[in-house]
């Protein structure tokens, strides 16, 4: 059997015919199915919307908590830095006072006065 004979043999076997009413009804049947699918999908979409809202709310809560947690250590570190600066300033003043005490022959009276 060559290709042409095969093609001829395949084409000689038509698909079974359906009654005319079938072709008249099929498109409207599809339209009904589309309408049914739309109504079936509607509650599903609402359910998805609710899930999305809940997810968004949960994400918001998590982000807020994360921000708050992040700010607490930041405040502590700022306080420590401030104390450090304060300490450095006091140490510098003490240094100056001691220097004056050592160099000044007027004695202990300088110890009681604040350096300027």
């Amino acid at each position: 059997m060559n290709d042409a004979e095969l093609t001829c043999r395949l084409k000689a076997a038509p698909a079974p015919e359906r009654p005319g009413e079938y072709w008249d009804d099929f498109p409207s049947h599809i339209r009904v199915q589309l309408r049914r699918n739309r109504t079936e999908f509607a509650p599903k979409r609402a359910w998805r919307l609710r899930l999305a809202c809940a997810g968004g709310f949960a994400l918001g809560v998590v982000l807020t908590l994360a921000c708050v947690e992040f700010r607490v250590p930041q405040a502590v570190s700022q306080a420590i830095a401030k104390q450090q600066r304060n300490f450095d300033a006091r140490l510098a003043r003490l240094d100056t006072g001691l220097h004056k005490l050592v160099l000044n022959t007027d004695g202990m009276g300088y110890l009681l006065t604040e350096p300027n």
Binding site: L6, R9, L10, A13, W23, F26, Q33
Partner: protein, 199 residues
Amino acid sequence: MADADAELVAESQRGDPAAFEELVRRHQRMIHSLTFRMSGSLADAEDLAQETFLRAWDQIGSFHGGAKFSTWLYRVAVNACLNWRAGESRRFHLHARAAEELTPQTHETSSAEKQHEVQTALLKLPAKQRAAIVLTIYDGMNHAEAAHVLGCSETTVSWRVFAAKRKLKRLLAAGGTAQRTPRVEPQSPAENRPPISHE
């Protein structure tokens, strides 16, 4: 989109079911023919045709008019057929129905016999080879058009057509020989089961 369906497609994309119904009316025979060749059963062909049009409605927004609407619809239908995986029980019913629908009765003409023989041979092909044969021989597409519908290269289509023809020649030649021998009716539906191949 220089297509006779262009206006109906545009209206369908805007959500008009009446326009889509008209598209279904225009293409229903073509799609039923394709799904029948692919499934071998009128009932399954109907299910597949319905699935094709429902999928087409869902996906019509993705049709941008690069090809003809009928080509795009073919692609949807072929994908529906290729993705159609029948379970064993469904397969059993398919063959029972196919045998019921296609087995010629004694008073019917020999064309019904030939139709049965050809359809049985087609069902023995792997699904992708069957699709290639249906598109190129029954729907008259060239290999480039068939490649577009099947989403593969032209070379792949050529190979599938070649392999399918080789197998069909063997099956139909064997069938022709068997035709001359007396037909033995199977005792149970399982014996009447031609294997369907899903590649």
